[in-house]
Symmetry: C2
Subunit: 299 residues, 2 copies
């Protein structure tokens, strides 16, 4: 079997379950970030690696500074999903020998600009040549207070589902310039009990079924309520991906309070209730497994 | 200017000095590992990322399990150079869509086998497709006691230079099966005052000048004393690379004690005094800058 026939979720499913995990691992492979215990009694330690590859995550014609920005912000968006504080980053730059040093300097300016935005220190770098396209891998470590750590798991039937910002249309430009919702996530876990959270990188139609599957529940989405980017259609919001907005589950008892406080705190950023978690019916189960193709039928 | 014209050391020199470093960073970009302060008063936090790329670090015909082993052991060898204890690893796997899932499973078996050897937990993984060759990036984090942290800096004029194991001939097979000298390094810093240390990945002729340059000193090497792998020549030991042995500087006052205790502890692994750190003369300075080409003249 080949990689293109199996897809990332199933591949990781085959590669990861056997990994030996120390007892200190709170959330391991399969969640947005890895979360582990350390001698620090107040905080968990949080780790995430992610990469961007030319021709896959950006076009060869993209500005190097934008590529660096995106390479750093992708793992930071997973920190947002965990409500964690990023601290240190390591960069692996794999580039062909004919790559221009000026391009790489511009790339690093983008990486630095993104790191600075969230007070992350880039503490190490490694380069290698390749006969293929440019690839940049960024690993980030940081912490989250034990009581504020959020994962994909923890959602209950009946929970409201909220998304930050607007969906769709991100592949045009936003995917190179997005700002991870770390500030919003930190505010959420400081003031509310967030049951489960994920960042929408592959599109709501892929990431919501992942969130639901992690909780072994179904979901109902009111597609007419999806917050659309200007010019985007419902299908774009569901399947396009690259939004890097947060999707989270929270008790409906907190709905009114959350909506009122959010409007006061983040005036310019919408927060939208798009549906709720529901019982997992056999129909739902199939929908989850089949992902996007049948996404709208669950609404 | 292109990557092939500038080389890795000079490229990193151009990319890294501007990086904003938090005050908590003890050793940043340019050393074997990044070392930072945390709330843990006893230990420093240690980070390292490294990668292997098909056609650069291994041949396409290499066994997938060996490739996984090497991908994990390369950053662990930097932990050895820092005398740090590795704990957690993150894997980024970049592979073409036609890559076989069975190959990747074998790769992960190699990664796991290597991680298990040093009780490292693989806590996260990420995959991406590429139109180029396979690349595996491994990031490792761990700790080192504040009093046992070793870096390239700290060597003094007159220090003895020692290397572990044997040099040369590693590119045939050893580079895919080497065991990082973590146990040896941990023993060294527990029992002796190691002034400066580096792992020999690019060959003694590249890594010794780096160690000396970091200390702004020169060096004298008795090339006839180099511990050669069976069948290897002095030139191989100097320039071939991929040895992953340790090179360290220590006061000559500890020489006799070190050599006696080492023989008792590591019967099968040679420890060889190959020379010493010396005053940096103008001749030396040039030698260092020019690296391997004039390496033997300094002996």
């Amino acid at each position: 079997m080949k990689l293109r026939e199996i897809g990332e979720d199933r591949l990781l499913g085959r590669l990861l379950p056997d990994l030996p995990l120390a007892k200190v691992v709170v959330h391991g492979p399969g969640d947005d970030c890895a979360v582990v215990e350390t001698r620090d009694r107040r905080n968990f330690f949080v780790l995430k690696t992610d990469c961007v590859v030319a021709g896959v995550h950006f076009l060869e014609t993209a500005k190097a500074g934008d590529v660096g920005w995106k390479a750093m912000m992708r793992p930071l968006s997973d920190f947002a999903a965990t409500s964690a504080v990023p601290q240190f980053a390591l960069i692996t730059l794999i580039a062909p020998e004919q790559a221009k040093v000026e391009w790489m300097e511009e790339l690093y300016r983008g990486l630095r600009r993104a790191a600075k935005r969230f007070k992350v220190s880039i503490v190490g770098g490694e380069t290698s040549s390749t006969s293929g396209p440019v690839a940049i891998s960024v690993s980030v470590v940081g912490f989250v207070e034990r009581g504020r750590c959020v994962s994909r798991r923890g959602g209950n039937v009946g929970d409201d589902l909220f998304v930050t910002g607007r969906l769709g249309g991100a592949t045009k430009q936003k995917h190179l310039q997005f700002v991870p919702r770390i500030a919003e996530s930190r505010w959420l876990t400081k003031n509310f009990s967030i049951h489960a959270m994920i960042d929408i990188s592959d599109g709501l139609g892929a990431d919501l079924p992942r969130l639901a599957a992690a909780n072994r529940v179904g979901f109902t989405v009111e597609t007419e309520n999806l917050p659309l980017t200007r010019g985007a259609k419902i299908d774009d919001a569901i399947s396009e991906g690259e939004d890097y907005e947060l999707l989270f589950a929270i008790s409906p008892r907190e709905r009114t309070h959350l909506q009122r406080e959010w409007r006061k705190k983040f005036r310019k950023l919408p927060l939208t209730r798009i549906g709720s978690l529901s019982q997992l019916s056999s129909k739902n189960k199939q929908l989850l497994q089949r992902g996007y193709a049948h996404f709208q039928q669950s609404g």
